[in-house]
């Protein structure tokens, strides 16, 4: 059984701690991850901007890197939804590539989706005595359909004070290249999102996608809003360690 980690370019290059937390947490369930080094990026930045030739280049590397894997797990709903939702469109003109793209989609999972849906875990045994709010990223929740899994996991964390985020489903304004191309609209959107986080008086903002979290976190840091921004894998792993220490 080969279970592979798809770090995603964002976590690999900017937030290695996220993939690390995921690997450490899964190791507690006996999941020995492999890291096929041929992986680069899922291709989404190019795909969404309309550069499909460039996106295909990335997608082919990914398909190739995980050819022998039985499972592929990534700390991102967005990159996994790219594989599930957009690879079929990208390779629709080539039956052989389309089949390989579908095979990859079939075995690819977002982190919380794998933990809850495949491993059947809803309580990782964590303790996290903080006030926490959750931003559901659009691609993971709408396109991939991962809505309940993160909430299930959070609801079982001991001493965690969960506060729902107002207008949680509204996009944070990241949108990949949108944040650069339509910088003014993106700024207005992320400012409103950061306002909503402030309303919750949460100490921690948690999510499943580093793109969105980098956007919201960057906005909050810029205006001196002291909220810790964490990927769910980080929160759960830290919480498990905290519970271990107490035991």
């Amino acid at each position: 059984m080969k279970i592979s980690l798809f770090a995603t370019c964002l976590s690999d290059a900017f937030f290695p701690r996220v993939s690390e937390a995921m690997a450490r947490l899964l190791a507690r369930y006996g999941i020995r991850l492999t890291f096929p080094e041929g992986q680069t990026c899922c291709g989404q930045p190019a795909f969404n901007s309309g550069y499909w030739v460039e996106a295909k280049e990335a997608a082919r590397r990914l398909i190739d890197a995980f050819r022998d894997s039985d499972y592929v797990i990534a700390p991102s709903g967005s990159c996994i939804s790219m594989i599930h939702h957009h690879y079929p469109a990208l390779f629709r003109d080539d039956p052989a590539e389309l089949r390989m793209a579908r095979e990859l989609a079939e075995k690819s999972y977002e982190f919380s989706q794998f933990l809850v849906g495949v491993l059947g875990v809803s309580d990782v045994g964590a303790r996290f005595p903080h006030r926490v709010t959750y931003h559901p990223s659009c691609h993971g929740s709408r396109l991939l359909g991962v809505k309940d899994e993160p909430l299930t996991l959070l609801s079982h964390v001991r001493d965690l004070d969960f506060v729902p985020l107002p207008f949680a489903e509204d996009c944070c304004g990241f949108g990949g290249t949108f944040a650069v191309k339509m910088a003014d609209i993106s700024a207005a959107m992320v400012t409103e999102k950061a306002d909503h986080v402030r309303e919750t008086e949460a100490e921690v903002l948690v999510g499943l996608d580093m793109g969105c979290l980098m956007n919201i976190g960057g906005r909050m840091r810029h205006r001196g809003q002291a909220v810790r921004v964490m990927h769910l894998a980080e929160l759960l792993y830290e919480g498990v360690r905290m519970a271990d220490e107490r035991a």
Binding site: F14, A27, Y29, T40, A46, L119, I185, M214, G218
Partner: protein
């Protein structure tokens, strides 16, 4: 004309909108109310997803057989005594309208709400001929007085607040009117009553055209459409060629979906069905009924696997209310007649000036809220990407962007190049990093860092630390439970079966 200035750029229009606090507050307030109402209406009906799927199937079928149903509709309407005209362009639609006006020696027109009439700019053409044209939908009346265009498909004056409306109406009244909804509505009603009675022509849009009987169905909340279609002697109805429904049974589904999606109403206040001109036994209705069926770029989408579904739209505006971009910039920033996600698709798709409208499709984060809100499940978020791809393929993107994407392609084409890019990035960022962040507002980081702080590349990427981590994990790896093992094997096994089939 303010609010409709296609010569400006998208960025300019967006800046104007973002700096208008009145607009942003008004749009936020109303879209929030509408989407909350819609959600309540969908929950109340229970099996909303089934209704959506039913609606989608009806629209897919209709558009797939549009030629057949259009012919059936035209034949039935003609049999009932109506005149049917086909206009392939906006100019043709205007010319046909003006011919009818001339034949009737019309001096005044009352209109009920019609987006397609905005699309062909009929008001402007009529005014140029000296024909008084009065919008009778309250929202349309407001923006007509303001010299603007609708900024929302169903709430044309969504960007105006009460005080602004009072100001506009006071000018017409010649006396100051209070910013009170009841007073303002009463004023409009009395003012418009006279216009209804003296108008030569009534112009309406068309929510649905029923092929099996040749009927026009109008949905309205103010009753003005009924006045427009009964008082004047001549009626002209403009409809986009895709407004067709095969049967009254199909209308039942649409009458369930449309008002709930638009405003959260279970039923629209007035639903009028017009089965031809006035017959001898009828109490009212026009002596002459003209229906102008407008193509204006629609038939180009037929047979296009990426865009045919955009013709399924029933113009409810739910995607606008759900859109986080529309919420901040309102409708005028989109630049043409239709706004929000559906506008971002229709504008570049229906217009032939591709260059001019290429950018509009970029005004979306592709968050998918539009698709989720759409009562007939149009994949607008996918269509926006298709438009962007065509912009790339047909050379309508910036050189710097193309260059950036070329670099991206090289970087992702092999993990060696990718790692090299990371290394170069780390060297390059060195003088700029402060406390793990890059605060500079120079170069490509300007847009991002104006309101945010960018993270720096990690000192060691994940792949560079993997070997050490893997070794460490091997020592503390837990035993996999038999259940987990069985589950993993079972799921993977199922996939294998499927492949062999």
């Amino acid at each position: 004309m303010s609010g409709h200035n296609p010569t400006s750029t998208l960025a300019e229009r967006v800046r104007i909108a973002l700096n208008n606090d009145f607009l942003r507050n008004a749009v936020r307030f109303t879209t929030e109310r509408l989407r909350t109402n819609k959600q309540a209406a969908a929950e109340q009906i229970g099996n909303w997803e089934e209704w959506r799927e039913r609606g989608r199937q009806i629209r897919l079928h209709t558009i797939a057989h549009l030629d057949y149903y259009l012919a059936q509709f035209a034949e039935n309407l003609r049999r009932a005594g109506g005149y049917v005209h086909f206009a392939s362009t906006a100019e043709e639609a205007v010319a046909i309208t003006l011919q009818i006006m001339a034949a009737k020696q019309a001096k005044s027109v009352v209109k009920s709400k019609s987006m397609v009439s905005e699309e062909v700019h009929i008001n402007q053409a009529l005014e140029e001929q000296g024909i008084e044209t009065v919008e009778t939908d309250l929202g349309e009346y407001i923006i007509q007085l303001a010299g603007e265009t609708p900024s929302h498909i169903i709430i044309p004056a969504i960007h105006k607040n009460k005080a602004q409306v009072a100001e506009l109406f006071s000018e017409v009244a010649g006396e100051p009117l209070p910013a009170d909804t009841a007073v303002l509505a009463a004023f409009a009603r009395s003012k418009l009553r006279g216009k209804f009675l003296e108008a030569d022509i009534g112009m309406t849009g068309c929510n649905f055209a029923i092929a099996e009987s040749g009927s026009i169905v109008l949905f309205s909340n103010e009753g003005n459409a009924r006045m427009v279609s009964t008082v004047p002697r001549t009626q002209i109805t403009m409809m986009g060629m895709e407004r067709i429904l095969p049967s009254w049974e199909d209308l039942e589904v649409m009458a369930t979906l449309l008002p709930r999606s638009a405003t959260g109403q279970k039923l629209t206040v007035y639903m009028s069905a017009i089965n031809g001109p006035r017959r001898t036994a009828d109490g009212d209705g026009p002596d002459e009924l003209h229906v102008i069926i407008i193509d204006n770029g629609r038939s180009r989408q037929l047979g296009d696997p990426e865009f045919q579904e955009v013709l399924n739209c029933i113009r409810c505006g739910a995607c606008l209310n759900a859109c986080p971009v529309y919420r901040h910039i309102g409708g005028h920033a989109y630049g043409w007649v239709y706004s929000g996600p559906i506008g971002a698709v229709l504008t570049p798709v229906l217009n032939e000036e591709k260059e001019k409208w290429a950018e509009v499709a970029n005004a979306s984060t592709l968050c998918g809220a539009c698709y989720e809100a759409c009562p007939v499940k149009i994949p607008l978020h996918d269509m926006l990407v298709y438009i962007r791809r065509r912009n790339v393929e047909e050379g309508r993107t910036k050189r710097t962007e193309r260059l950036g994407m070329k670099t991206y392609k090289v970087a992702v084409s092999s993990h060696r190049f990718y790692q090299l890019a990371l290394k170069l990035g780390r060297i390059g960022q060195k003088p700029l990093v402060r406390d793990g962040q890059i605060p500079t507002r120079l170069g490509p980081l300007k847009g991002w860092n104006n309101v945010r702080t960018a993270p720096a590349l990690a000192e060691r990427s994940f792949r560079e630390s993997w070997q050490a981590l893997e070794r460490e994990l091997q020592q503390e790896m837990a035993e996999m439970s038999p259940q987990v093992k069985a589950r993993l094997e079972e799921l993977a096994g199922k996939r294998g079966d499927r492949h062999e089939q």
